[in-house]
Amino acid sequence: MFSTIWSQYKATLTVFLVLLVIVVLEVLQVRAAIYPSLLPAFEWLKNSTPLGYIGTTYGSIYATVQAMHLLAMGTLGGLVLTTDLRLLGVMFRNTPSEVISNGTHKAFKVALIAAVLTGIFCVAGVADKVYYMPVFWVKMLALAVGAAFVFLVKQPLLNSKPHSEINPWIIRGMAITSILVWFTVAASGRWIGFS
């Protein structure tokens, strides 16, 4: 009985299992327990790695990498908007949405990798500061959720069958969520600079 349900609803059950684990970890205050132990890692990143050394010593290199980070995020945002506005039926209505979403996915991965790599450098230079910023952790959480959403949920569903066979409201829901997640990543990122 259980095994039939499991084999039929593997993805859905996994989602709720993950959710359950998160709730349990929160109730047990695991996050609060782990948080202090992360500080040494951030201090090490700033004080003992070449990244942290370059970031704190050469302001011009740091600013240039920040600009690259912005460019990567700009490209990423453009790709997300193009893909998701097509899924919402706002743009490219005459082009099949499979073509757009498949065609932008590879570039999306490249832009994401570029943003993460330049982002690590940006963090290294100010690691002891961002550690204490709630908005930094909001960004990291949004980034992790966004990446998991795209690679484990959205892309598998969009690739599994023609989009016309998927309930349009599910496609729209995924598109809106995707836009909101990546907007949150970018907006929180900008706010790190202000805090």
Partner: protein, 190 residues
């Protein structure tokens, strides 16, 4: 001469009530800056996709003119927002910005980028439509796309440099930099 005029213009703006309100507001300046930066995802995001398509890096099975057509509107909306917020950012800190070397380089690059976009558009219209469905655009359009990418990377980088004070008027003695940044008083004092 032109540096003096620009400085006077900046001082005139800085004396205005609304300019001071923008800087003094609790969040007004930050929100303006955040909007300016986040709109990169609409403006540069759309533009780069068009350029990438011309170079054959992305969406090779969608015709180049479709990509350019459909992304034109969001790109223009994005650039309009960037222009308005950008102007307000200058208006909020006029003297500081007008005397920034990076801001001046950024403006030059912006002008070059717009000229390049103009030429690119003309070339695209002049080119016969046979290439439209090719995965890579003709050579002259590819050159335009690369130039566009390089110029806009430069614009964004210069924009990122503006808040840094490396070559502010009171930080350098180099007369060429002082002249290029329009540091009128410091240049006289040399």
């Amino acid at each position: 001469m032109i540096n003096e005029l620009l400085l006077q213009f900046g001082q005139w703006m800085e004396a205005q009530q609304y300019s001071q309100m923008l800087v003094a507001g609790y969040y007004s300046y930050s929100w303006l800056e955040a909007t300016h930066v986040l709109t990169l995802m609409v403006s540069i995001g759309s533009l780069f996709i068009i350029d990438f398509r011309m170079l054959g890096w992305i969406l090779p099975n969608v015709s180049a003119s479709t990509i350019a057509d459909r992304l034109h509107k969001p790109m223009m909306i994005g650039f309009a927002i960037m222009f308005i917020t950008g102007f307000l950012l200058v208006y909020a800190k006029p003297v500081e910005t007008i005397q920034s070397l990076w801001f001046r380089i950024k403006m030059v690059l912006l002008v070059l980028a717009f000229i390049n976009a103009w030429i690119f558009n003309a070339k695209m219209k002049a080119a016969d439509g046979n290439w439209d469905n090719d995965s890579v655009a003709p050579r002259n359009l590819r050159v335009g796309a690369i130039l566009s990418l390089v110029l806009w990377c430069g614009v964004v980088t210069m924009g990122r440099y503006i808040p840094y004070d490396w070559v502010d008027c009171d930080k350098t003695q180099n007369s060429t930099i002082l002249w290029a940044a329009g540091c009128v008083d410091q240049l006289k004092a040399l």
